[in-house]
Subunit: 163 residues, 2 copies
């Protein structure tokens, strides 16, 4: 049972998660600055809320949180922030859960591929190119040109399996 390359999302909750949040916000800030995008309060706050954990967050849960903080927010407030963050590549949407997780940048320029634990609900990204290569190969066989990939693997992470 290898542990050397264990994604941080699947490590003990003892990891200092504040670091994850701080780094994610810093990456976002940097990214927006370099691309001339406006990292507004709402966008920043939605990203921060999503990064509260490594588990996917629902849009309406974000809305509830925002409402507690500054009354009277409506769905478009959250969905617009999410659209921005998705376009910027700062968060990902998990299609099979209708929920959103922070991008941990593990996939580099490739499409994200998620491992989703059915028990602790943590989501980690598959890092290497092997899966993409296998898919590209199959696509090539039938003359299919890839735009984007949705890959969501559900199961049990090592920690939860161990008990």
């Amino acid at each position: 049972m290898s542990t050397d390359a264990l994604p941080i999302a699947f490590t003990s909750h003892a990891h200092d998660h504040k670091d994850c949040v701080r780094e994610a916000l810093a990456r976002a800030e940097e990214h927006c600055h370099r691309h001339g995008l406006r990292f507004t309060r709402i966008r920043r706050r939605v990203l921060e809320l999503i990064w509260q954990s490594h588990t996917p967050t629902k849009a309406y849960d974000l809305l509830d949180r925002i409402r507690e903080e500054r009354g009277g927010a409506a769905p478009p407030t959250v969905y617009r922030a999410l659209d921005f963050l998705l376009d910027a590549g700062l968060v990902h949407r998990i299609e099979s859960l209708n929920a959103f997780v922070g991008c941990d940048a593990a996939h580099g320029d490739r499409y994200p591929k998620f491992l989703i634990c059915r028990h602790c609900h943590a989501v980690a990204e598959i890092a290497g190119p092997a899966v993409d290569r296998a898919i590209a190969n199959e696509a090539r066989k039938v003359g299919f040109t890839i735009d984007r990939e949705t890959i969501e693997i559900r199961g049990l992470c090592q920690r939860c399996a161990a008990g």
Copy 2:
């Protein structure tokens, strides 16, 4: 440009689609009989409607069709038939589209992996084991046990790219 293994969903609309429908219904009948499941009128009709094409069908579009035929159907009628067909493995849900396609059995016992054309909307399944093997490999590296996979590749099929 290979064409030998081209999935039927990506072949010209000139393929005799009635055969696809007939075969799908026959497979369903057979499957239900062998497993002691009841292939009722509604279930049969929903499956037949889904097989009208190789493109994914929305639940509420099915509902509209059913309503035309026998007035007064409500969402649970369709969703219950869909649940049955999904459990039986006779249809698949495309998570990224909230829509349903017939199972063409190309994936055998493995999880289905879809190629979805952005232009003609046809959906084909990837047949070989290479992608599953690559994913199993990556999962093993981090001690992750796979329950199921959602793999939906969006792009352009050969026919649409050609013309």
